[in-house]
C-alpha cells in the first residue's frame, strides 16, 4: 500500500498525462477536421460552378481542333434570327477541308482562270456587239447567256435563308455567308466558287440541309 502523499502525486501525474493526451487528440482532430471541413465547404459552394465551367470547356474542346493553324472554332448563325451553334471538331475539320480544296483549286488553276477570264472578256465584248461578227451567230448569243447565268453573284449568294459562318483561327476571324446558291466571304463580298457537290457537302456539314 502506498502512502497518501504518493497516491496524491500519482493522481496528479495521471491527470496531467490524460489531459495532455486529450489535448493531443483534440489537436489531431482539429488538424484533420478543419481542412476536411474547408474542402467540403469549398466543394459544396464552388464545386458546382467548376463542374459547369468544366463541362463548357469540354464542349468547346470537342468543337475545337487541338492546336496549330487549323485550330478553328466554327460558329453558325442563322441570319433570320435563330440561335447560333458551334460545329463539332470533325465537322469543323470537314469544313476546313472543303474551303482548303477550293483555295487549292483556285491557286492551281489561277493562270488557267486568267485565260478563261480573258476569254470571258472576249465573250463579253462579243456579247456587247452581237451583230458585229456573224461567225458567232446565235451560238455566240447562247454562250453569252449561259456564261451570264452560271457566274455566281454576291446578290444571288445573299438570298434568304442565309447563315453566317464564323471561323476563328487564333486571333483572326473570317465570316462567310452561306445561302442556297453559294458561299460569300462577308468582309470582301467576294463569292467563293463552289461546285454544286461542294455546296451540298458544305450545307450538310453545317447541318442546314
Amino acid at each position: 500500500m502506498r502512502d497518501m502523499e504518493t497516491c496524491r502525486a500519482e493522481i496528479f501525474r495521471r491527470s496531467g498525462e490524460r489531459i495532455r493526451r486529450r489535448q493531443r487528440r483534440r489537436r489531431t482532430a482539429l488538424t484533420l477536421c478543419v481542412p476536411l471541413a474547408l474542402c467540403l465547404v469549398i466543394g459544396l459552394t464552388v464545386g458546382p460552378d467548376w463542374v459547369r465551367v468544366g463541362r463548357a470547356n469540354k464542349g468547346a474542346e470537342n468543337q475545337l481542333p487541338s492546336s496549330g493553324e487549323k485550330a478553328t472554332q466554327v460558329t453558325v448563325l442563322p441570319l433570320d434570327g435563330g440561335e447560333e451553334w458551334f460545329l463539332t471538331k470533325t465537322a469543323a475539320e470537314e469544313l476546313q477541308a472543303i474551303l482548303g480544296g477550293v483555295k487549292d483549286r483556285d491557286a492551281a488553276g489561277n493562270s488557267k482562270h486568267e485565260d478563261e477570264k480573258d476569254k470571258t472578256s472576249v465573250y463579253a465584248s462579243e456579247c456587247e456587239i452581237p451583230n458585229d461578227a456573224e461567225f458567232f451567230g446565235t451560238k455566240a448569243d447562247d454562250q453569252c447567256q449561259e456564261s451570264a447565268s452560271t457566274e455566281p453573284t454576291a446578290t444571288a449568294a445573299l438570298e434568304e435563308p442565309a447563315y453566317r459562318i464564323t471561323l476563328q483561327r487564333g486571333q483572326e476571324t473570317v465570316d462567310y455567308v452561306v445561302t442556297i446558291d453559294g458561299l460569300v466571304e462577308e468582309l470582301t463580298g467576294e463569292p467563293i466558287p463552289l461546285t454544286e457537290e461542294e455546296l451540298a457537302e458544305l450545307r450538310a456539314v453545317l447541318g442546314i440541309d
Binding site: R2, M4, C7, E10, I11, R14, S15, I19, R22
Partner: protein, 183 residues
Amino acid sequence: MDNGAGSYRRFLNGEESAFDEIMEESFRGLVFFVDGYVHDVHLAEDIAIDVFSDLIVHRHRYNFKVSLKTYLFMLGRSRALDALRHRRVLTAVALEEAAELPDQQTELEEAVLADERKRAVHAALARLPEEMREAVHLVYFEDMSYDEAARVMRKNRKQVDNLLYRAKRELRIILGEDGEQLL
C-alpha cells in the same frame, strides 16, 4: 456535512489544498470498497487513483446533485466491475509480492475500520452474499444514507432496505450473541 462537495467546489475555484481534504475523506474508503469487488489491494488502489484523476481531468462532469463521496463510489464501483470483466487480461501480482497481500489487506482494514466493532462486523461480512456485503459496507462503514447507497449500487431505496434487513439477520446468525450488540 456535504461529503466533499464543498471541498470540490473550492478545488474548482483553484484551491489546491481542498483536493487533499477530499482525498483524506474518501480515498482509503474507496480503496477498501473497491477491494471488496476486486479482492486485490493494489488493483483497488489503482482504480481509486484513476477515479480521483477523473475528478481532475473531467472537472465539470460532477454536477453536485449527489454527494461527492457517492459520486466517487459510483465511479469506483463501475471501474471495479470493468476490472473484474477484464480480470483474465490483468496479470496477477508476482508471487513474492503476493505473500505481502494479507498484511496489506490487514493494514488497509485497520486504516479504514478503526473501531473494533466495525472490524468484527467486517470479518463476518465475508460470509455474506456480495450485494448484502456491499449494502452493509456503504451504509455502516461509509456512513452513507440509504438513498446514497442505492445510487452507488444502482438500486432503489427499497431494495437497499431489504438487502440490509436480510444482511442484518444473516450477520446476527454469524456473529451469534455478540451480533445483537454489534448491530
